[in-house]
C-alpha cells in the first residue's frame, strides 16, 4: 500500500536534520537515544459507569511512530485526552523525560512539547494559514509575520511539503489543512506529535502522503503517536503497535519484532490481538449469492433526475436507475461527486429541477420529506450528529425524531412517555445500542452506537426502500461488520437498497450492481461479477468500462 515506509525518496539529508534540531529548543541530546519521551504507567481513567482506560502502560520514544490501534470506544480518545492535558488520570502516572509530571492543561502539554492534531480540524476557516499559525501569540504584540515565514520555510523545506501561507484555510483540502496543523505543532517545538484518527478524512493519496510525512518527522527525532482503527495503515506506517481493547492494552508489537514481520503477518497478529480467534482479514467479506427477484417490478425507479448546482455543492444531471426488491445497488465514486446531493434529492431534502422518482410505481418527486418517509422511503444520513440526531436530546426521543406526533407515541399531540420508553428500550435491545440509559443525550454515545440508533430508526417498520449514505464511515470493525449485516438483512427482507459508499471493497462485497458517479452524473453501471473491480475502477478514473 505504501512504498514510502523506508528508503523514502524525500528523506532529507542528515545536515538539514540537524538544522531542525538546532532550533527546537525542547530537544535534549539524550532523548534521541531511545529513552522514553513520555511514558504512561498503570494509567486508569473512569467515567460514570464506564472504565475508559484500565491500567494502561505505554512508552513513547523519539524516532518511532507508535500506532495506537483499537475499535471505537476502546479508550484511544481518552488516552489522548490525558496526554494532551484535557483530562487527568484517576490512577497511575505520566512520566515526561523520566520524571512523573501531571499534565494539567492543553497549554501545559504544549509547553512540555506535546502537540496534538485532533480528528476534527481545529483551524479557523476564514483566516489565512499564516493567521492561523500566529493565533495564540500574546495579544499585545504585533504578529511576527516575517519570523513566521522564515521558520515555516525552514520546517517545510526539511519535510518536503509546501504550505501556502497566504491561502485561506477554507480553500485548502483536508489533507493540506492537516499539514498546516502538523506544521503548527512543529512551530511550537513539539517533541511528541499525536495524530488522532488523522486518516479518516483523507483520500487514499492523502493518506500515503501523511504516511511519508510521518516517516520524515520521526527521522528527525520526533516521536509520533498515530491513532487509527485501520489495520493496514497501522502495518504500513508504524514502528511499534499497541492494541487497546475495551480500555485495556491487550498487546504490543515492539519495533524489533515489527521489522521481522511482513505486512500480512502484522495484520493477522493484530487481528489475533483484537478479536481473539479470527485469523484472516475480517473485512474480506464473502459475497453471498442472493436471489434478487429478477422478475419483480422495481421498487425504486429514478428517471432523468437533475438537481441544480449550488455555491458549495455540485449539481446532478440525468440520473436514472432502478432497484428491484431484494437488490442492493451500489453508488461508487470519489467523495464529493454528488453522492450526498443524490441521497438528499431522493429523500426530498433537496429540490430536484427535473426528472421523476417512483416508489413502488407511484410518483413521489413532488412529495415532502415526511410523506416520502411515510410511503416507505428511508434515508440513513452520513452526517450522524449534524443532521441525523439532535445531540442534546435523549436517546429515546432520537429514535422517534421522524415520527413526532405519530401514534402510539403521541396521542392527540401529547407525548406518551411510557410508550416511547417501552419501544425505545426494545430498539436498544434489538439493535444492541450501548447507552448508559435511555435518557442519555445521544451525542454522548460513540459513533457506532449513534449509527445503531439511526439504523433502528430507519429500518424499524414500514421501510420499502432504504438509502444508506456511507453507512460504515468512521466506524470500527465490529460496528462496520454489524452495519453491513444489517444492510444485507434489509435486502434479504425484500427491500430495495441504495448503498452509497466511497469504500470500493464494501461495495464489491455487498452489491448486486454498482453504478459509478462522477461530477453529478452516473457514468456507468456494472454487474457485480468477477471483473467488476477493474470495470468500476476504470469508470472511477474516467475510462469507459
Amino acid at each position: 500500500m505504501v512504498g514510502c515506509r523506508r528508503g523514502d525518496p524525500f528523506t532529507p539529508p542528515d545536515d538539514s536534520c540537524f538544522l531542525v534540531l538546532g532550533f527546537m529548543s525542547g530537544f535534549s541530546s539524550s532523548s534521541v537515544a531511545g529513552r522514553d519521551i513520555v511514558a504512561l504507567e498503570g494509567v486508569t481513567k473512569r467515567f460514570p459507569g464506564i472504565v475508559a482506560n484500565d491500567s494502561v502502560d505505554l512508552s513513547i520514544r523519539p524516532g518511532e511512530v507508535h500506532v495506537l490501534l483499537g475499535e471505537n470506544g476502546a479508550g484511544k480518545s481518552t488516552l489522548i485526552g490525558m496526554l494532551s492535558g484535557l483530562q487527568q488520570p484517576d490512577e497511575g502516572r505520566i512520566l515526561v523525560d523520566g520524571k512523573p509530571t501531571p499534565i494539567t492543561s492543553p497549554r501545559h502539554a504544549l509547553a512540555l512539547g506535546i502537540g496534538t492534531v485532533f480528528q476534527h480540524m481545529m483551524l479557523v476557516p476564514t483566516l489565512t494559514v499564516a493567521e492561523n499559525l500566529l493565533l495564540g501569540e500574546p495579544w499585545w504584540q504585533r504578529p511576527r509575520t516575517e519570523e513566521l515565514a522564515a521558520r515555516v520555510a525552514e520546517i517545510t523545506g526539511t519535510l518536503g511539503i509546501t504550505v501556502k501561507l497566504q491561502a485561506k484555510v477554507s480553500e485548502l483540502s483536508l489533507g493540506e489543512q492537516q499539514q498546516v496543523e502538523i506544521l503548527r505543532a512543529m512551530l511550537r517545538n513539539s517533541r511528541l506529535l499525536i495524530l488522532d484518527e488523522s486518516t479518516s478524512m483523507l483520500t487514499p493519496k492523502g493518506i500515503d502522503e501523511l504516511g511519508a510525512l510521518m516517516r520524515r518527522l520521526v527521522e528527525q527525532g520526533l516521536a509520533i503517536v498515530f491513532i487509527t482503527h485501520k489495520l493496514k495503515e497501522a502495518a504500513a506506517f508504524g514502528d511499534r503497535i499497541s492494541v487497546l481493547k475495551l480500555g485495556r492494552k491487550v498487546g504490543e508489537i515492539p519495533p524489533e519484532r515489527f521489522r521481522t514481520l511482513g505486512e500480512q503477518e502484522i495484520v493477522s497478529e493484530i487481528v489475533e490481538l483484537m478479536f481473539g480467534k479470527q485469523k484472516d482479514d475480517p473485512e474480506a467479506v464473502e459475497r453471498p449469492v442472493r436471489t434478487a427477484r429478477a422478475g419483480a417490478d422495481p421498487l425504486l425507479q429514478v428517471t432523468d433526475l437533475a438537481v441544480a448546482a449550488t455555491d458549495n455543492a455540485p449539481g446532478l444531471s440525468s440520473i436514472s436507475f432502478d432497484i428491484r426488491p431484494g437488490e442492493i445497488l451500489g453508488i461508487a465514486g470519489i467523495d464529493g461527486n454528488g453522492q450526498k446531493q443524490l441521497a438528499e434529492a431522493l429523500a426530498g431534502q433537496r429540490t430536484a429541477t427535473s426528472g421523476s422518482v417512483r416508489l413502488d410505481g407511484a410518483a413521489i418527486e413532488t412529495l415532502s420529506v415526511g410523506e416520502r418517509r411515510r410511503r416507505g422511503l428511508r434515508y440513513l444520513t452520513d452526517d450522524r450528529l449534524g443532521e441525523g440526531t439532535v445531540g442534546t436530546f435523549p436517546v429515546s426521543i432520537n429514535f422517534f425524531l421522524k415520527q413526532v406526533g405519530a401514534a402510539p407515541f403521541w396521542r392527540n399531540g401529547v407525548e406518551q412517555r411510557a410508550e416511547i420508553d417501552k419501544r425505545a428500550a426494545q430498539l436498544v435491545r434489538e439493535y444492541d445500542v450501548r447507552t448508559p440509559s435511555l435518557k442519555t443525550p445521544v451525542a454522548r454515545l460513540s459513533g457506532g452506537n449513534i449509527q445503531k440508533v439511526l439504523l433502528a430508526r430507519e429500518l424499524a417498520e414500514g421501510a420499502k426502500v432504504v438509502i444508506f449514505n456511507k453507512p460504515t464511515y468512521g466506524l470500527d470493525l465490529a460496528n462496520t461488520l454489524a452495519s453491513r449485516q444489517r444492510i444485507r438483512d434489509t435486502a434479504a427482507r425484500g427491500l430495495a437498497v441504495l448503498l452509497i459508499s466511497t469504500d470500493l471493497e464494501e461495495l464489491l462485497g455487498m452489491c448486486d450492481r454498482i453504478a459509478v458517479i462522477a461530477d453529478g452524473a452516473l457514468v456507468g453501471t456494472v454487474e457485480n461479477v468477477d471483473d467488476a473491480r477493474t470495470k468500476v475502477g476504470r469508470l472511477m478514473i474516467g475510462l469507459a468500462a
Binding site: V51, G85, E387, V428, S437
Partner: protein, 365 residues
C-alpha cells in the same frame, strides 16, 4: 469507552441510582442562581454608596414597597400579569431558537388595539364578550406585526434579531401615531385613547386591587411550558431550535413552524398589552412605553426558559420594579436604577456560569 455493566438499558434501575445526583443537581442550580443575585445586590449597593445613597435603606424600601406592604404586594402581583404573558411568548421563541426581541412593539400595538376596541365593544355587546373580542384583536394585530420578521427568517434566512428590533421601533412609533391620530379621545386635551370604565375592566381578585389578569398570565405560562415539554408540537419546535438541519432531515416543515413560533410569541406579547390595558390602565396615553418586553428577557434567561422558574423570576422582577419605583422617589435615585440592578444580576450570573463551566472542565480533566 468500555461498558462495565450490562450493555443495554433498564431505565428504571438507572433512574433510582441517579436520584441523589438529581437532588445535588437541583441544589447546585439553586446555589448558582441565588449566589450571583446576592453578589449583584452587593455590587449594586456599592454603586448606591458611591452616589451617596444608603443601600440598606434602598433595599429596605424596595422590599417594603414591593413585597411587605399590602398595597405594594398587590401592585406587584398586578404588574406580573403582562410580564407573565411576555415571558410565555419569549419561552416559545427562545426554545425554538428564535430570538424575538420585538416584544415591545408587539406589546404596544396589542395594547393600543385593545384600548381602541374595548370601549367600543362594551357598548354593543355583553362586557365579557367585548373583552374576549378585544383580547383576540390585540393578539391578531401583534401576530400580523410579527409576520415580516417571520417570513424573512423562514424563507430568506434573515437574522430575526435585527428585524424584530427594527420592527419594534416601527411598532412603537405606529402605536403612538394611532393614539394621537386615529384613536384619540376627543373629550380630553391630553392625547390618549378613550378610557375603559373601571367596572368594565377585568374583575379584581377578591377584595384586593390585584387584577384577575394575573390568573390569565399564570395560565398562559403554565400552558406554554406544558406544550413545549409534553406535546408533539412543542417537541417539533425544540428540534428546530436545537438542530435545524435535523429538523429538515426529519421532514419537519421548518418555514411553517418558524412562522408559527413568531405568531405565537407575538400573539402572547399582544395579549400582554391587552391584559395591561383591559385589566389595569384602561387607556393608552401617547408616548406610553413601559418597555416590559426587554425587561422580561433577563428573567426568562435566568429561568433557563423553564415556565415555572420564570414565574418566580417574573415575581422578583415585579418586586424590583414596583419597589424600585417608590424607593427611587423617596431616595432620589433615578427610576431606571432597577434596570441597572437587573443588568448587574445578569452579568454576575453569566460570569458565575462561565466559572462554573471552567471549574467543571478542569475537574473533569
Amino acid at each position: 469507552m468500555s461498558i462495565d455493566t450490562a450493555p443495554t438499558v433498564s431505565a428504571t434501575a438507572l433512574d433510582a441510582t441517579s436520584g441523589a445526583a438529581t437532588r445535588r443537581d437541583i441544589l447546585h442550580r439553586l446555589l448558582m442562581t441565588l449566589g450571583p443575585i446576592l453578589i449583584a445586590l452587593v455590587i449594586a449597593g456599592c454603586i448606591l454608596l458611591a452616589v451617596g445613597v444608603d443601600p440598606l435603606a434602598y433595599y429596605g424600601f424596595v422590599l417594603e414597597k414591593g413585597l411587605f406592604s399590602p398595597l405594594g404586594i398587590q401592585q406587584t402581583l398586578t404588574r406580573m400579569a403582562p410580564l407573565l404573558f411576555l415571558a410565555a411568548g419569549l419561552i416559545v421563541a427562545f426554545r425554538a431558537g428564535m430570538w424575538n426581541l420585538g416584544g415591545d412593539g408587539q406589546f404596544l400595538l396589542g395594547a393600543v388595539t385593545a384600548a381602541a376596541s374595548a370601549p367600543v365593544f362594551v357598548q354593543i355587546m355583553p362586557a365579557w364578550l367585548a373583552l374576549v373580542c378585544s383580547f383576540l384583536i390585540a393578539m391578531v394585530v401583534a401576530m400580523i406585526w410579527s409576520l415580516v420578521p417571520a417570513l424573512l427568517r423562514a424563507y430568506q434566512g434573515v437574522n430575526e434579531i435585527i428585524t424584530t428590533l427594527m420592527m419594534t421601533f416601527l411598532g412603537t412609533s405606529l402605536a403612538n401615531v394611532l393614539v394621537k391620530l386615529a384613536f384619540r379621545d376627543p373629550s380630553t386635551t391630553v392625547p390618549q385613547t378613550r378610557t375603559l370604565p373601571v367596572e368594565d375592566r377585568l374583575p379584581r381578585l377578591f377584595e384586593t386591587t390585584i387584577t384577575s389578569g394575573l390568573l390569565l398570565g399564570l395560565a398562559a405560562i403554565v400552558i406554554v411550558h406544558l406544550v413545549m415539554t409534553r406535546t408533539a408540537f412543542g417537541l417539533k419546535l425544540r428540534i428546530v431550535g436545537a438542530n435545524p438541519r435535523a429538523a429538515v432531515h426529519s421532514g419537519l416543515g421548518v418555514p411553517g413552524l418558524t412562522v408559527a413560533v413568531f405568531a405565537i410569541s407575538a400573539g402572547l406579547a399582544g395579549l400582554a398589552g391587552a391584559v395591561d390595558i383591559i385589566g389595569v390602565q384602561g387607556n393608552v396615553r401617547a408616548d406610553w412605553n413601559p418597555a416590559y418586553g426587554l425587561a422580561v428577557i433577563p428573567a426568562v434567561f435566568l429561568a433557563r426558559m423553564n415556565g415555572f422558574a420564570a414565574i418566580g423570576f417574573v415575581f422578583l422582577l415585579s418586586v424590583l420594579s414596583i419597589g424600585g419605583e417608590s424607593a427611587a422617589r423617596r431616595l432620589g435615585v433615578p427610576n431606571h436604577f432597577t434596570l441597572v440592578l437587573v443588568s448587574i444580576v445578569l452579568i454576575v450570573l453569566a460570569l458565575a456560569e462561565y466559572f462554573d463551566h471552567r471549574y467543571n472542565q478542569s475537574r473533569r480533566a
